[in-house]
Amino acid sequence: MTRVVPLPRPGLWLGSAVVVVFAALVALSVFRNPNIRHGVIAQYQFAPAILRGLELTVVLAVLAAAIGLVLGVVLAVMRISPSAILRVASAGYTWLVRGTPLLVQILIWGNLALLFEYLGPFRTNDVMTPFVASVIALGLNEAAYMAEIVRAGILAVDRGQVDASLALGMTRGLAMRRIILPQALRVIVPPAGNQFISLLKATSLVSVIAGGDLLTAAENIASANLHTIELMLVATFWYLVLTTITSIAQHVAERRLGRAHASAHGGR
């Protein structure tokens, strides 16, 4: 067989070399930095307080994602409904929630007692604990983004699928559940995965209402021992673990959905 000599590409080599050297310098500056106490990091990386914060962050993210998904589907269906009132209500909700900072929403929910002293028969402060306020604020915010993602997914499904479902005698609801949403999933999963990663990180914002999440836990310890950077690195490590797991799960889900029906394009 003849030997193949690849085209020399000096630019590619030079670029790669620069990147490797730069990465090495950054790593060194962190690990050799005399201002970082590696002992402190080791001490707190698996500390019970940090792990409780981590657990709460995961619970918060999962609950908020669940609320976001359910409410997001409802909002998306409202958005494409024949009723103008439902359409406007859904669009208005998205406009309001996406148009204001999440931090502000969290502060409002966390301080709801200043607005309403009582919620029905209950004292607001008894019901709206920092945890509840965090779940509600994150879930409602998530819903606005999921609504757009789900809507795009539904619109990506061929109209003929609705026709075929209705022609078989299915109700609109059944067609949506059994035929449209399962197909929309292929379009929904990639952006929904990204959205969940954003959500994982956004949970850190609830530290402003003492939400008890990972960042709150790290901040509490740091304010006592003043090792701020070390504790931020402790938290950073756990956030990276969570987002990495999510990315892998997202990748697997996309692969499996892609395999199950390469068909939507294969069929004519």
């Binding site: 003929g160 075929a164 078989l168």
Partner: protein, 255 residues
């Protein structure tokens, strides 16, 4: 079986159906032909209430489609009742519209199980028999993407038949197919016709219309211009418009 009286349909400002009068007897195979945009698809979609009509009356099996009539007033039907009516009317689309996330078998049993609430075992058995009937017993577990166009359309026919309809609507069932696949689909439709199924078939396959059709109706610009037995209509159309359309159609190569 089907009775259309002055059926009208408009999209925004344009009137697409301008008073369709048509009767289809039980067991009759009616072929509907006409130029593109004349409203053939729209009429079929009105018959199973995928589109609401704006005027006239449309009956299937003696029942008003989509409405309840009391005195002079038409009341729109509840979704459940519309679905019950649609379940008794099979429809086959130009682009098959199989559910791509389900196997051939799952496509067929979906509506019998979810809509008619048939026992699973029974539905599966009947689906397998239907697949055999359209010559695809060996493709039960194939996804639509793994089937040729002709095979997909035959599954789509089996899916419609699984609801045991009393009327079948076909909207250009072979016009998205490669020429060599047209025959297998027409053959299945022919056996249906022979079994006495009432069918309305929008098609430009004149050989099929001539041999399997009991009657051909020519539609143009939102009205039925004329209808009659295939031989008469094809050899001596009464109207100039029909003649012009037929000569254009027959001047083209086979499809």
């Amino acid at each position: 079986m089907v009775r259309a009286q002055g059926v009208r349909k408009r999209f925004r400002r344009t009137e697409v159906l301008k008073g369709i009068d048509l009767d289809v007897a039980a067991g009759e195979v009616l072929c509907l032909i006409g130029p593109s945009g004349s409203g053939k698809s729209t009429f079929l979609r009105c018959v199973n209430h995928l589109e609401q009509i704006d005027g006239g009356r449309l009956y299937v099996g003696g029942e008003l489609v989509g409405y309840r009539e009391q005195g002079d007033v038409l009341y729109e039907m509840h979704e459940r009742d519309v679905c019950r009516q649609r379940a008794a009317i099979g429809m086959v689309f130009q682009r098959f519209n199989l559910f791509p996330h389900m196997t051939a078998l799952a496509n067929i049993v979906e509506a019998p199980i979810r809509v008619r609430r048939e026992p699973k075992r029974e539905a599966l058995d009947r689906a397998a028999a239907l697949l055999a009937r359209v010559g695809l017993a060996h493709k039960a577990n194939a996804y639509p993407s793994e089937l040729s166009g002709g095979q997909q359309q035959r599954v789509a026919i089996a899916r419609a038949l699984a609801m045991q309809p009393k009327l079948m609507l076909f909207d250009e069932p072979t016009s998205a197919l490669d020429p060599e696949l047209v025959g297998e689909v027409l053959a299945v439709m022919r056996t249906l016709a022979d079994d006495g199924m009432t069918m309305i078939v929008v098609t430009h396959e004149m050989a099929f219309a001539r041999e399997a059709g009991h009657r051909i109706a020519f539609m143009d610009d939102g009205v039925i211009v004329e209808s009659g037995p295939p031989r008469e209509l094809l050899s001596e159309p009464a109207h100039e418009r029909t003649r012009a359309f037929l000569s254009r159609l027959l001047a083209q190569p086979a499809r």
